[in-house]
Symmetry: C2
Amino acid sequence: MTGNLKIKLQLYCGAEIAMGPGKADLLEAIAREGSISGAGRALGMSYRRAWLLVDTMNRCWDVPLVETAPGGNHGGGARLSDLGRSVLGRYRELQQRLEHSADCEPLKALASALREVPRASQKGE
Amino acid sequence: MTGNLKIKLQLYCGAEIAMGPGKADLLEAIAREGSISGAGRALGMSYRRAWLLVDTMNRCWDVPLVETAPGGNHGGGARLSDLGRSVLGRYRELQQRLEHSADCEPLKALASALREVPRASQKGE
């Protein structure tokens, strides 16, 4: 978020989103928590949802981004592969580059015409 | 879309999205079609949805982006205000700037590790 602006970067593999804001946050949480279930919990996401996002990522890149160890009900531990760390780092780099680049005249002009809060809706119309 | 990358820019006014990809396309369609209903039809969007997007835009900026003339069931004609044209132009300018800026090493590295199509899902797991 740069002031009023939110920049969302999505990398596609065919029709699937191979990397985006939610998946990047999940990779970071997996690196920190050491498991998919722990990462899901930390992000307030169901295990099923976290697992599906990991499954999508793992199918879209040359090699899986997340390596899992077998175990327990909700799987054992999980960690980022070398490619996982590299993809996450470059995605963040790209994001920072674009946020820096967005700090320009057109954005200032847009921001200066934005209200602080929206007017009330004329829903009756 | 720059190769595999999609950049979505959203401008917020409080919790509402004052401008984004769908709203910018709608503004262009209104300028071209001369009415909200015509623009909605051109984009395969219901009149209600188009009207709600216009309502949100009109509440988020210093002055409304879309001016409507009273009339018929689904309103009369509609056109962009001066601010509407200016906001649309600057939004497109910002978008082009970021797409240009995204054409860089980190993106090339990411793209080179993306598969052409995803592997099949291991949904059985």
